[in-house]
């Protein structure tokens, strides 16, 4: 797409733009050779894969315009695959913006490459979280919960240890959501941070929920209560 190329050339950010351009390459098949002329002057050298792609383009480009190139692009779309998890979305993406003949799946706007990249990362994150949630039952741990969990250490021993403690913090970050558990181990207070969706956590059970008025209960560090910390 001309606008995409123009944006890429205009934006100083070579890194992100290069990456996006690489994966939007099938999208950018519209280019008649004029687009290539666009690229050269701004000193932007596409990565080699893209380069030979565009050269191949050049050979087959007919002066007729859109219909021929769209036919070619459809063929090339098949051969050029991307190896990310979100291939489904990306393929939809390309199909969508490349040729008018193909039907339109839900549109992902393509005006700003960096915003699109973030949007795609969001989708990947949500997919990963959904996948884990369907496999395992993960309760809603909030600060103030006293939980008991079974953790498997997959090193040599394969032991399963049972941990019991109070959740004092929770950090939401998609698949990387972590929570902080505080417990008393052999007379010493120990805080551990666990990824919520870790495959090593075999089972989690909420024993009790305490009423707290904070999101992070770091004040408990100064208070060595008799109750389960």
């Amino acid at each position: 797409m001309q606008s995409l190329l123009r944006n890429v050339c205009r934006a100083g950010n070579r890194g992100a733009a290069a990456r996006l351009l690489e994966f939007a390459a099938p999208v950018a098949t519209q280019p008649p050779s004029s687009a290539i002329k666009h690229l050269r002057p701004c000193g932007f050298t596409p990565p080699t894969g893209l380069d030979q792609f565009l050269c191949v383009q050049n050979r087959f480009i007919s002066r007729d315009g859109v219909p021929a190139s769209s036919g070619f692009c459809a063929k090339v779309l098949m051969t050029r695959g991307l190896s990310t998890v979100g291939t489904a979305e990306v393929a939809e993406d390309e199909d969508d913006s490349s040729s008018p003949a193909v039907e339109h799946p839900p549109r992902i706007k393509f005006k700003r490459p960096d915003k699109t990249a973030r949007h795609i990362m969001n989708i990947l994150n949500k997919e990963a979280v959904e996948k884990v949630r369907t496999e395992r039952e993960i309760p809603d741990v909030q600060p103030g919960c006293i939980i008991q969990m079974r953790l498997q250490v997959p090193e040599n021993k394969r032991r399963e240890s049972t941990l019991k403690g109070i959740v004092i913090a929770r950090r939401n970050a998609g698949i990387n959501t972590t929570f902080r558990l505080r417990r008393l181990v052999a007379g010493v207070g120990v805080e551990s941070v666990f990824p919520l969706y870790s495959p090593n956590i075999k089972e989690m059970k909420i024993l009790d929920r305490k009423k707290v008025r904070r999101a992070k209960l770091y004040y408990l560090r100064d208070r060595m209560n008799a109750l389960k910390k």
Binding site: A186, G187, V188, V190, V193, R221
Partner: protein, 123 residues
């Protein structure tokens, strides 16, 4: 993050109660901090009476607890409430016969297997 002048508790029954770190083994120009599993040179600041180890003796110790978080390889982060060490000899064997408190599993890979086997709880 243990550095010289740090006070540490002792979690074995060798007789010493408190240590002060005077050197981190393997530090370049004394710039580096010691973490769990590092060996330090320490001086005994406080000891129980009538025990083989007494006050103001310079010994080596291995760090087992730190207040600074320690990252395990499976994504779990552990943080203790105090700084503590176990006194060892030149070879790495503990001087005491019992160890108290929870010891991290990672010490086993660093050849402190005797300490890990004496521990009442291994994290």
């Amino acid at each position: 993050m243990i550095q010289p002048q740090t006070l540490l508790n002792v979690v074995d029954n060798s007789g010493a109660q408190k240590l002060m770190c005077i050197r981190v083994i393997g530090a370049a120009g004394n710039q580096r901090y010691a973490r769990i599993g590092d060996v330090i040179v320490a001086v005994i600041k406080d000891a129980l009476p009538q025990m083989p180890l007494e006050r103001s003796k310079v010994i080596r110790a291995v760090i087992v607890h730190t207040c600074k978080e320690f990252k395990c390889e499976d994504g779990i982060i552990i943080r203790y409430d105090d700084n503590a060490a176990v006194i060892i000899d030149q070879k790495g064997n503990p001087k005491g016969t019992r160890v108290f408190g929870a010891i991290a599993e990672e010490l086993r890979e660093l050849n402190f297997t005797k300490i890990v086997s004496l521990a009442p709880e291994v994290l």
